[in-house]
Symmetry: C2
DNA sequence: ACAATAGTGTCTGTTAGACAATATACG
DNA sequence: CGTATATTGTCTAACAGACACTATTGT
């Protein structure tokens, strides 16, 4: 039995990495930044950074999110003006995951509505939204500079984050985190379609979401930004879990 | 922008804490150990310890599990002889969670079949299975020595682990991790009843679990250890997700 | 015989999924 | 008018939940 003396613990660095997801042009996209230093210099990576000495893990993630995107995390209630959903994802601590030293990374998952453009330190070329299908595709010959594998174990972290998002919109109202404050049923349906990579029946979807109490509340207005008949505008309701859940179609 | 120099990171200690759950006498129970040192000396706590310098997080959790219970973790396939399910739960890093120094704890969740008795360093009085309802009950006057609040933030960690187990047996075959290698439908039902704290209809439950392909495979034998008509024995099948899920009854 | 548990069958209400039909905008 | 999207309605198969009934052991 080793003594529980906190002074002879092995030295660790603790970081937070962010899987920031959004839906752009009908595709699920993740925020990636270009690394300026070794290791993996020039490769794309998930945004992240060291946890400060007196900072909680969630606070560190929220700070990084603001630094990278300007988004405010909005955990307890639902996204207000410029808020994004933020939750802890998982922790990655393989001794060899960073060649420099022992780094344990507490990954977080953030879901945001479509945003104008990423800004990382003001450098436009050093951050971008990339479709997750491109980032996670294993070497398929389409190995241009945009599709090189992510640094460190970030492909695994991203895959875990995507899977969390895909499963969580089934039984929670989290899909609304991808939408602006006011949105139509069709826009919400296109979120589900993009995240799951499927096509859903608009009529059954409409009946399902409007029939689930507390999921959507009408905000009064209508919009015609999608063309066709004007659609009713909704806000996210108070319900956080969906019962019964949205069913993801089989493969 | 702080420089990404891994040599000027704040000093962290990284530990793993274990939420080990089992079902004993029709109640969901967790393994707790008595602390021998300050802080929280004499209080009950979740088992855990420091992650070693060249050890993966999952390996550290598996090592602690063996040290505390003698159980072998058995992640990929299903519990064989003496295997338990082990998965990462969440990470807790409040700067004030340990008064001695900055400690980040990567909590893991383990599910085990009913075991003879815990052994922690051979000391029988320093470890026990306690009903989670007792451990999580806020001060209700029943504040005897057995029910004093857990050390550190372990009550929160335990609550998160219990909630994870409760929700995960809905849509996965994980409930079989609480059962011995061979079990009856009735025994499996009593697991669900203990974990959820509800009473289920034996007839509908039987129809549901035997009708879900891949959940249970008959092992040929029968048993009468519960009294009454002999029951068919089953093993856990290959299916890991249940579709459609088991439905947890409403409150 | 009685108690206890295992297992099968039957009925009913709800819901998912397929799809017809109507409504209201823009061009 | 044609096209596009929104919204309502209808039908059917599957399933959850309630519960009657039979089967097989021990006492």
């Amino acid at each position: 039995m080793p003594p529980y003396d906190p002074s002879n613990f092995p030295p660790f660095a603790v970081t937070v990495d962010l899987v920031v997801l959004t839906v752009r042009r009908h595709a699920l996209c993740a925020l990636v930044v270009r690394r300026g230093e070794t290791p993996f210099q020039g490769r794309w990576a998930l945004p992240g950074g060291f946890v400060r000495a007196d900072e909680d893990l969630g606070s560190a993630a929220a700070r990084e999110l603001v630094e990278e995107t300007g988004l405010c995390a909005h955990d307890p209630a639902r996204p207000a003006a410029n808020g994004a959903h933020l939750e802890q994802l998982a922790t990655y601590g393989d001794p060899a995951r960073d060649p420099r030293m022992r780094v344990v990374s507490v990954a977080h998952l953030a879901l945001a509505p479509d945003l104008p453009a990423p800004r990382a330190g003001g450098d436009a070329n050093s951050a971008r939204w990339a479709p997750v299908d491109d980032l996670l595709r294993p070497g398929t010959g389409r190995e241009d500079e945009q599709a090189t594998p992510l640094a460190f174990d970030h492909a695994r972290i991203l895959a875990d984050g995507v899977e969390r998002a895909r499963s969580k919109i089934e039984y929670s109202s989290l899909a609304t985190a991808f939408c602006p404050p006011e949105f139509t049923v069709g826009e919400l349906r296109r979120v589900y379609e993009a995240v799951w990579g499927v096509v859903l029946d608009p009529r059954n979807f409409h009946r399902k979401v409007t029939g689930t109490p507390g999921f959507l509340v009408p905000s009064g207005g209508t919009t015609t930004r999608q063309g066709g008949r004007p659609a009713q505008l909704f806000r996210a309701g108070a319900a956080t879990v969906l019962n019964p859940p949205m069913l993801r179609p089989e493969v």
